[in-house]
Assembly symmetry: C2
Homo-oligomer: 340 residues x 2
Amino acid sequence: MNAQSTLAGEIRQNIVTDRWVIYTPERANRPGQVRERRTRAAYLPDHDAGCPFCAGNEEMLPSIVFELAADSDGLWHTRIVPNKYPVLTSETDVAGTNRGIHLVTTNYGRHEIIIESPFHNRDLPVMAHEEIEAVVETYARRHSELYGMDESIQSVLIFRNHGEQAGTSIRHPHSQVVASGIVPEFVARRERIAEGYFQQNHRCILCDVVDLEQMDRARVIYENASFLLFVPFAAEVPFELWIAPTRHSPDFGLISRLEKEHFALALQDALQILHDRLDDPDYNCLIHSYSRQHSIVPYLHWYLQIRPHLIPPSGFEIGSGMQVNSSLPEHDAEVLRQEV
Amino acid sequence: MNAQSTLAGEIRQNIVTDRWVIYTPERANRPGQVRERRTRAAYLPDHDAGCPFCAGNEEMLPSIVFELAADSDGLWHTRIVPNKYPVLTSETDVAGTNRGIHLVTTNYGRHEIIIESPFHNRDLPVMAHEEIEAVVETYARRHSELYGMDESIQSVLIFRNHGEQAGTSIRHPHSQVVASGIVPEFVARRERIAEGYFQQNHRCILCDVVDLEQMDRARVIYENASFLLFVPFAAEVPFELWIAPTRHSPDFGLISRLEKEHFALALQDALQILHDRLDDPDYNCLIHSYSRQHSIVPYLHWYLQIRPHLIPPSGFEIGSGMQVNSSLPEHDAEVLRQEV
């Protein structure tokens, strides 16, 4: 029995995001649907004279906000620098006045780059253990620091764009942090949904999702002592992955020392599996943590999402607000489990 | 004075969709941000032996649902055929049962292709007057027919994907129609917003937008007796365009004979301007009409949206639900007006 064909033609709701996804496995057979592969990072040099993120090219950086030193060889592990082209900035010159019927507000916030390695080609899947732990340490530290240093910051988003289709033009391994003076729509929405679920069921929505996936196994790729790696029940795109802590926790910044180790392992394994199985696809990777006022509530639960870019969005998705996914989550999980 | 720099750093709300857009004009200077150009349609042959949409290749089509005959030479103007890879289908085999905490529903509906010309390379910008009017006639006719023939249809979406980045793999000029058994999220949202605005202001929200744009002129590209072509105040992407009827009308299917002529002109001009000024960009084009139960209300108003794909979305947009646009609407309008 072929799971792809027997389950064809269903629409699933992602209960965490409230989004509906249409499954059309037969569309995977359409011609020319998968994007061209990018040049693999492994073929890049370890140093690029024109890259501002490479060690030794510090004069190309506006400044260095933070540096995590390596233990042994004296080189740095990670660096944080200001984004030269910020989406939000504390140096804003716009008054929050409206124009006619239109609402306008200011873009207060901070936008920084986390350089993940001194080496141009040392991407997360090929990092040594201590290197990827340094990246996770930098994520967690900056997540807490940004809330701590500025009371106007309402929400912190850490994300990683890998490849041109995912919106990046710089190959050197890096992530980004955006700290916002407002709670962005998608964060507010997940908070609303989770709160409503808790009021009805007296349970955390993502704790329930994790429990269900652990019992069902159909979409689980991998599990360690602190994290579950799975394809969500209503994945929006082929091979979408979530990494969720099995312990209830709304705030990524409160990740424990042991959880950091386990998270580094899970993140590296997830990206390694995608790299090997899908030939280094472009992807966006995001940590969905919660806004300032919700860091200790019983109903929110942070998670990491990896969203590969294998098929471009179409007019139907833009017009309907629903995603069309040509690949069933159970099928994707089966394919990816073969790499574990 | 440079409008791009003086207005940098603002967040605008699109009052029709309730979405917030961050403007960062200085990001337009980032390296490698514009996608590679596609091969222009003008260099394609007028007939492709392997293309199922070309005249003479009928044996490659599953069936022909409808054909609009040309007046003079006996050839057809447009054809409607079933989509071989439908996102929705009336032959569904899924029961609408839920699985554990997860909601599942069926994907009832129809998904058709509108072949816009017998010729492989006769794209909308280069069509003769009567040819583009035939396309608009086919849109309007099918929009009404689909509601009429099936009482379960709640919503009809007509859209056009142009180029690979917009999700199409077939170059032959075509549009698509999806008729859904449900009201998709984005349609329901616009209906909710427009109803709320009407209750507060006793006015149609899009009538107010059209009035304001006509007075302000800063974002207007072009206007004819029935339609306004403009960059919306909170455009989500660079060079987004809207074409709105100046007469209040919720239902695209009720477009008058004269309006069809004027709409054909406005649509062709809009696509021509984009083609010439931006070197034939990939885009999605969508007609936002309203769901079955809302076709005669005083608060809804159909419009056409053209969304070019010049810059790929990034992790911040996916995680926040907010768009980042590196180009101000007033700037885009100024650039495009030079082609009129």
